[in-house]
């Protein structure tokens, strides 16, 4: 009886909090759209009536149009797909290099002192500054993209892995040794699970950076497809509502990626969350 009542109360609280969240979300959406209209109007007035930036409703219209209708044989989905594929390829390579390297330099002092200065030297160069280098080295190819994304994703991944191992509390390793674990067993059974949260964080940051890199690379003209290419192309032909629709797509994909990572964290890091 008491339990039933409790569930009832819980359900009601849940309902209320959902309604409240929806309320806040609606308000923030309205405020955002409001500012957008205001911005366009003010801009138009200051340009003596010439309108450059499209209104929100025009952008949304273009957005939904582009999802269904092709331009030069591609829908917006195709462009996003092309960009995402590049991100995945670049991330994959960054992951398989950065994570083992991060672990290795964190565990081996000599390696640390040799590799760390190289990393510190290269890290300040923004991935975008590598684009010309990528073009002259790999040409206008997928490899060029992969390289730029690799550069962008590599540093956050290596750093987070490194920090994870360094913080991976020594005491767990000691206890495991006292229970008879060998070095490889400690690496697999202790260090890996304890740095898992850092790797997930690194991967989330890296994906964010990779997503920016791929768009920049596409805008710099390394390809004939992709969301960055599309935005740039629409700018060049003066179709600004399509251009903005492309930007909107980037925002949605970013939100989606973030959501995916939050889900991964929620389910795989149950032991860590809410500590």
């Amino acid at each position: 009886m008491i339990n039933q009542n409790l569930t009832k109360i819980k359900n009601e609280i849940n309902k209320k909090s959902i309604i409240l969240s929806l309320g806040y979300f609606s308000i923030s959406f309205i405020v955002f759209i409001g500012f957008w209209y205001l911005f366009v109007i003010i801009l138009q007035l200051s340009y003596q009536g010439v309108r450059v930036v499209p209104y929100p409703h025009e952008t949304f219209e273009s957005f939904f149009n582009l999802l269904i209708h092709e331009i030069d044989g591609y829908t917006l989905w195709n462009h996003v797909g092309a960009s995402l594929l590049r991100v995945i390829i670049g991330l994959f390579y960054a992951f398989i290099v950065a994570v083992p390297l991060g672990i290795a330099i964190a565990l081996n002092r000599h390696l640390d002192r040799i590799i760390k200065p190289i990393i510190e030297l290269l890290r300040p160069i923004p991935p975008i500054a590598w684009i010309p280098f990528a073009i002259i080295t790999f040409g206008l190819t997928t490899l060029s993209h992969a390289f730029i994304i690799f550069i962008g994703a590599f540093f956050p991944l290596v750093q987070n892995t490194y920090d994870g191992v360094r913080q991976s509390t020594k005491v767990y390793q000691d206890v495991a040794r006292s229970l008879g674990a060998s070095k490889p067993q400690i690496a697999i059974e202790i260090i890996l699970p304890s740095i898992f949260p850092n790797i997930i964080t690194g991967l989330r940051i890296a994906t964010g950076v990779a997503w920016m890199c791929v768009i920049a690379a596409e805008m710099m003209g390394i390809s004939g497809a992709g969301i960055g290419y599309f935005i740039n192309y629409m700018k060049n032909i003066g179709h600004y509502s399509n251009m903005m629709a492309g930007m909107m797509m980037i925002a949605f994909v970013g939100l989606f990626i973030n959501g995916v990572f939050l889900l991964i964290e929620k389910y795989s890091l149950k032991w860590k969350l809410g500590d």
Binding site: Y172, V175, A176, S178, L179, G180, W271
Partner: protein
Amino acid sequence: MFKIKIKSKSFQTPDNTTNQVLQNLEFNIEEHDFVSIIGPSGCGKTTILRILAGFDSDFDGSLEYSPNSDNNYEKFDSLGKIGYIPQEFSLFPWLTIEKNIRFGLNIKNVPSKEQKEITTRLLNLVGMSEYRKYLPKEISGGMKQKIAICRALAINPMSNLIVMDEPFSALDAQTRNVLQQDLLNIWREQKLTIVFVTHNIDEATFLSKRVLVLTKLPAKILKEFTIEISHPRDRTNLEFNKIRKDLLGYLN
């Protein structure tokens, strides 16, 4: 029976000066002993424990073991063979209570059925059988240390020896008192041999059969106390307080 002899143990500080931590230190650990080591902070108590647990083989001296307690000692590599309970909470947070206890058994490839039996027995021993599926973050600090003891006992340490490095220092006073009593019960029932590092004189007096008082660096044994009062000990007892006072006198 164990014999620990440390002629010297030093380490290099970052500015390359050698720092002598331990010097001419020698003591025995009997079967079913309860030895506490106390001393000023930073005097090398933890170092002794780490040497005993086998983490640190870089010292001048030896760790010996007499399998039949007949004074025939042989060199002893203790790593992985005796229980170790550190100061911090050390349960692997990504594993459930049960999997924590089974960790060492898995490493030693103990058959699954036997692992289950051992885990059940140990969880019953500390009265926590219903917590099998919990994660460490879901149980209290006192419970964590009890499970840490179970995990150390699961590997069936040699001579039931476990070494404990201020295991209750992160607990509040009340929980600490309860755990001290729990530890004594386990010690008696399981015929454990315990080496216990603490800076808490009251704790040492309450628990130990023997107390070793160490000097400042480089640490030597200043005094060895044997406490004859039978368990359970009464903290308000006159003799208890006299020993506590004596220990305090040696520490200052």
